[in-house]
Amino acid sequence: MIKPSRISGTAFLMLFLHETSLMLLKEIKILSGKEIRLEIKQKYVLNGILLYLVSTILIAYLAFSRVIDPETWNSLFWIILLFVAVNSISKSFVQESPSRLIYYYTLSSPQGILLSKILYNGLLMILLAGLSSGLFILLMGNRILNFPLFLAVLFLGSIGLSSTLTMVAAIASRASNNFSLIAILSFPIILPLLLILVRVSSSALNTVGWAGNAGWLILLIMIDITVILLAFILFPYIWKE
């Protein structure tokens, strides 16, 4: 026989978790929708990033066109993507005015704000990564032999870059001297992610097979999850003043 009190306790807990996670999902949906609408309205921000991306790739193309081999292609691609990511995500928290931040503060949970920013920045990064790989293929030739693997790396890399940089942008937004701070705070901690990305994508450029890459992809997923979990736990501390 099951004790009734125990049922109600468990049921209450499950209902509570269900309610809070539903709340969180709703918040994320609304907030990331807001980010996207804001971006569409203020076209100059997105256009600025796109132009930055295109001109950086063009410079790389002009400077490197004679010596491009798969290894160079790969390193250039990820370095450019890293700088584009830093540039586009660094404004995540500073573009909001202090009074608007207080408004969000009263409306939503910190986790909702953080996850919606990570989601939005992740989508933005996937868009930018796809675009820059298209431009790379257009200008420097298609060096990719294993396309599905490359896409998987692009996706996991975009999530990892967006979550790490969103968290660092949140930290840096609380300090003065914001932009250079984001770079120096994020580059050393993004290194493990970046090294794995470069390694797996180099394998996608050089070989057709998947051999030996499953472990790397799992490691990438685990790093992504670690970063998002850490950000989820730590963000409330920097969100409330």
């Binding site: 790490t164 968290m167 930290i171 840096a172 609380r174 300090a175 003065s176 001297n177 701070l181 120096i184 705070l185 580059f187 050393p188 901690i189 290194l191 493990p192 090294l195 794995i196 390694r199 490691l219 790093i223 670690t226 970063v227 850490l230 950000a231 730590l234 501390y237 920097i238 003043e241």
Partner: protein, 227 residues
């Protein structure tokens, strides 16, 4: 002297005395015991000093991480003082570790710096914690500074540990001693050297805590003088 007072003095000083004794022992024995004739010959003596710097750094950075966690639980500025001074001491050990390594590398590999996973890990660690110091100096409010830097410290420490664990597998073989079946790993180490190695490591870690203790007290006095 009163018995209780003597006990208190003993309790305050025993580990500092132990650290001094162990390090004097390690320095004297480290330069005088015969070492086995391995590939790196007499430079293997750097094991007692260079590796000690790495252990000291790791102990200090872990202490900093723990105190940052404690700060976020209590919001007591005492914890933040411990965290920042632990990181400062860790940076000191890190720089000394890189310097002792460079001198050794110059003799062994012919160059002070090579592209090796273990060296990259040390460099990334230093960069992370120097960035931590820059972050601290760019926040003016004391409470806010403590909170923000604690968050960064926790985030960065975990990512650094991931880096140190991951990168040897990414970058392939390391030429730095300390891989499997290397003569400098404790389980393969010459028994006579073990008698110097373990006390030396304990001595360096205790010295780290001694420096930390002094730095925290200086920090506290400075704070009281300006307040």
């Amino acid at each position: 002297m009163h018995y209780a007072l003597r006990l208190r003095i003993f309790k305050t000083y025993w580990w500092k005395v132990l650290s001094g004794v162990l390090l004097i022992y390690a320095i004297v024995m480290g330069f005088s015991i015969p070492v086995p004739d391995t590939m790196i010959q007499e430079t293997i003596r750097n094991l007692f000093f260079h590796v000690g710097m790495w252990f000291g750094m790791l102990a200090m950075l872990t202490t900093g991480f723990i105190y940052s966690l404690r700060f976020l639980r209590t919001f007591n500025l005492k914890e933040d003082r411990m965290a920042v001074e632990a990181v400062n001491t860790g940076i000191l050990f890190g720089i000394l570790g890189i310097l002792t390594g460079m001198i050794w590398a110059n003799f062994t590999w012919g160059a002070p710096w090579v592209n090796d996973p273990k060296l990259d890990g040390a460099a990334a660690g230093l960069l992370i914690y120097l960035a931590y110091m820059v972050l601290r100096s760019s926040v003016n409010d004391i409470k806010n500074r403590a909170k923000i830097s604690a968050v960064y410290n926790i985030f960065a420490f975990v990512m650094w540990i991931v880096f140190v664990l991951v990168i040897p597998r990414v970058s392939g073989a390391s030429i730095h001693p300390g891989n499997e079946d290397s003569p400098v790993l404790p389980m393969h180490l010459d028994p006579a050297m073990r008698w110097v190695f373990y006390p030396a490591m304990l001595g360096w870690i205790l010295l780290g805590f001694w420096i930390l203790n002094l730095r925290v007290r200086i920090n506290k006095l400075n704070g009281e003088m300006t307040a």
